[in-house]
Symmetry: C2
């Protein structure tokens, strides 16, 4: 049995275009003599469609598109993710379903049983769980169909303690093959947890297991693809490419050697960020990005990512020195732009800064220099970036990293300006690792940028570490508090950091909530990002001075 696994990149809500892509893929698969074609979860709508699901005509149109796919299925067995109405009078109004089609007919639906409602997922807002596990017969084989989270209750690494384990129920039906359609977002990890879980599933069911994942970035989420095929012994036989559309052609009767797949964490992280930028622009029909290039490491990294995602000719860098900017920063920015063949424009802001000081001098009289003046500089830069964006049609990419977003070490309406916060979910520690990784073959980012002490250069001789502990400490507290939800006590014990310091950093994290709430959407690459899947009140008294 020849199976075509179609790892597609849909655009949320573009039902007609997504379906055209599915129909084109069906014809390609035919040419390859495939008998079975598998598409990802929610392939017609893209995932996650969010509150578009509250519109009746959106649901109706998915049915229209599904009918086109059914019509095009002559002689083929197709599994495709779609969303459909729950026609019962009770419960949520929709199912997140796999439509199972054969030869011009709909054989039925398998509705997702486990509906993730944690982190970035809110499926119980929309969907009713499917109760029944099913197999579909094709060419004498019983094909089990599951959707993404359905297989995860079978793992020890499970996020939620689910009531049921669809794998155990499916086991009773003795499937000859498991098809698992997914929209499983990427997150940075040193080891691929999916492989362990999927392998275990194959072994339990004693049958081959095909996982077809969505690829592409939709707002903050990046889907990495990496669709997989496991044999019935749980060996990983084949993996599709990461971060691009791809397909696998699998003959489940044929013995094939085990894949020598190993994840490359830094390459994947970089690819995720590039795809996050690329798809944001492509899917919004935009092409040109504008970046404030300070000569620091964050904006240097964003420039590399943008040049890769959009092409250097579509990227404009802007250096905006003030009286506090160093010559070396200016030189570093120039060298980097030259290395990347990106145009660098130079607009000094010092005169404008002085104008504001003069304008505000009656209000500021008798007050000393503080963050107000620092913010003024950052906001003048934001204004200039936005003015060029408005006039010339560039989209500003903001460059603040996760550690800065955590600490509030960013200026609201200043360096936080932008359509997309490329590094919002990348800690300063990972920023350094990525920069070194980019330079692994040759120096693209000038080494002086990587070596110098971090500084916002918003006052004389300023260093980030004047008002912050080292980023290595900050990042541990982020890991513990934000990603793992450890208490202050637990963080003190785990990382051996002084309690007063942990407490202060955790307070800073909460205090900066109001800034992050107004920050640009970030590309989620960690297991817990600030800008998606994390909900904290601005006004709260749990963590407060």
């Amino acid at each position: 049995m020849l199976i075509y696994v179609a790892q597609l990149n849909p655009t949320i809500g573009n039902l007609t275009r997504n379906t055209e892509k599915i129909l084109n893929t069906i014809e390609k698969a035919r040419l390859e003599k495939a008998e079975v074609i598998v598409f990802p979860e929610a392939a017609i709508s893209g995932y996650p469609p969010e509150d578009l699901l509250l519109y009746d005509d959106f649901i109706d149109q998915m049915q229209v598109e599904l009918d086109k796919i059914i019509e095009a299925s002559k002689d083929l067995f197709i599994v495709v993710g779609t969303i459909r109405r729950n026609k019962e009078k009770k419960g949520n109004l929709l199912f997140n379903s796999a439509a199972v089609i054969y030869d011009g007919k709909l054989l039925g639906f398998k509705d997702k049983s486990l509906l993730p409602t944690y982190d970035v997922f809110v499926e119980k807002r929309y969907f009713e769980p499917g109760i029944e596990q099913k197999v579909f017969k094709f060419k004498g084989k019983k094909i089990g169909v599951l959707i993404c989270e359905d297989v995860w209750a079978h793992s020890e690494n499970v996020y939620k303690k689910y009531e049921i384990d669809p794998i155990k129920e499916l086991q009773k039906l003795k499937p000859d093959l498991l098809i698992n359609i997914a929209a499983s977002p990427y997150c940075y990890e040193k080891k691929d947890l999916r492989i362990d879980v999927f392998s275990k599933v194959s072994k339990t069911l004693n049958c081959p297991h095909i996982m077809c994942n969505q690829v592409g970035a939709n707002d903050q989420l990046v889907f990495d693809g990496h669709s997989m095929y496991f044999d019935k012994e749980g060996n990983l036989i084949n993996v599709a490419k990461g971060f691009v559309e791809d397909h696998l052609l699998i003959d489940i009767e044929k013995q094939t050697p085990v894949a020598s797949y190993q994840i490359d964490p830094m390459q994947d992280l970089y690819n995720a960020l590039v795809l996050g930028v690329k798809d944001y622009f492509r899917k919004l029909h935009l092409s040109k990005a504008l970046i404030g290039l300070s000569g620091g490491i964050d904006s240097a990294l964003v420039l590399c990512i943008a040049a890769d995602a959009l092409g250097p000719l579509n990227v404009l860098a802007l250096n905006m020195p003030s009286r506090f900017s160093s010559i070396s920063s200016f030189e570093d920015a120039n060298l980097l732009a030259a290395n990347l063949r990106v145009e660098l424009m130079d607009i000094p802001i010092d005169h404008m800064y002085q104008q504001y000081l003069d304008l505000l001098s009656p209000v500021f009289a008798g007050k000393s220099f503080d963050t107000t003046e620092e913010n003024l500089q950052a906001r003048i830069r934001g204004m200039i970036l936005m003015a060029i964006s408005n006039k010339l049609g560039y989209i500003v990419l903001s460059t603040g990293n996760k550690s800065e977003m955590a600490m509030g070490y960013v200026t609201l309406y200043g360096d936080m300006c932008g359509g997309l916060g490329v590094l919002n979910d990348v800690t300063k520690s990972l920023v350094y690792e990525l920069a070194k990784w980019i330079n692994r073959k040759k120096e693209i980012i000038p080494s002086s940028i990587i070596k110098k002490e971090p500084s916002a250069e918003l006052k004389a001789d300023q260093k980030d570490q004047d008002t912050l502990p080292p980023y290595s400490v900050v990042d541990k507290v982020i890991d513990g508090y934000v990603e793992d939800h450890l208490s202050i006590d637990e963080i003190v014990k785990k990382y051996k950091i002084d309690e007063t310091l942990v407490k202060e950093l955790v307070e800073r994290i909460h205090r900066a909530e109001y800034k992050r709430r107004q920050g640009p959407p970030g590309i989620r690459v960690s297991k817990k990002a600030f800008s998606k899947g994390r909900f904290f009140p601005i006004v709260q008294g749990w963590i407060a001075e």
Copy 2:
């Protein structure tokens, strides 16, 4: 049986302070000879505590606080909302519970059965539903206890088609009294739906029904209080005050005349906005607000609300005219500030605007005046507001209304600057109604502000209606598309608006998603606000040109 209904205003997460308030209330109730005391849903944590619930120590501390309440309960029967662990190995980790206490002992918990996961609610992210309905015996009476949403499945106005109706199950247990603890947020409506539902519940159970609601604003949500007491015939006997802490003292054996309660929609809306501002400041230990006062109706209304919420001495208004500002706007702003006894500061921005034009002239060469120049003015104003905010400790209140937020007729990082978007969820039509309502006894807002055509005054002779249809049309499309999730076709039919126009407005709503994502949190007062409980992708192809 004398029952004290304690309508309290907790601060999210301030467990110790919230419990102190509960303990003080217990002593007050004792003095009133109360035998039963009822507190709102989640009274210990405040509602909604959101992801604070993911921290083990937060859950542990709620138990510690609950123990203090149990200890203080000598001779009293107390029902208090708290959140506790689900000790089963399956399902979500927490229950949203009512602790039922008598005379120093915990009698048990009633766990919330219906967990709202729609609009602003995400309870299935955290909670496992309570399966069992219960009555607790006290002085020979069977007291049924339910939590907020639990009673709503019994309504025809239900938002969700729930599988079960706790009222029908409770009916079998024949309660003599129903205690319903709630955290039910306010939304603007002409008729109070709650009364119909609660009345029906009393009739079905054939017993008196006490609803104790949270009061106070927590971030975007405003809880209005209005705790209620219905007799067993479903007559509304008593209602606590709206938008302030209050209590009811109820003798359920005593015959009392029916209350003559009628909601006053405009007064409630105004109170909700005032409380939204007041609690944001009070709970963050802030006192002073800064408002850019243009002479238009939106900033005029915000100034009235802020002066009421914080006191006129804590409010500073800033007029920042450019070359496009009219003299009449300046005069109107001055007159309003005088009427409200609010200080008005004057900082003309035209010189600064010219500086930007000069600075950017090489980039802008050959391009004509467009929204870039309009945005520059709005952003200079934003910068000045933020500089004064930073230097002097004022919090900026932004003044954009819901119609502008819908249309994107606001400047990101410009007039959208602010800690709180007071009118984010108030349409322009309601802004006018509120302004007239404020002037109902005497003219506070100068009538010229109400009468003049809306204009941003960002270019010569500009009127909002140069690029927008009348707000009455815009607001109908907002009602239909945003609040009621009608399709374009349905809106065309319902409101008899031209299809091309509806389509264009709906496209504008989606196109402005990226701006709203970075807007200040707004005070939710409608049944569907932009800034809370609404999730749409920025990148989508369903509604797109």
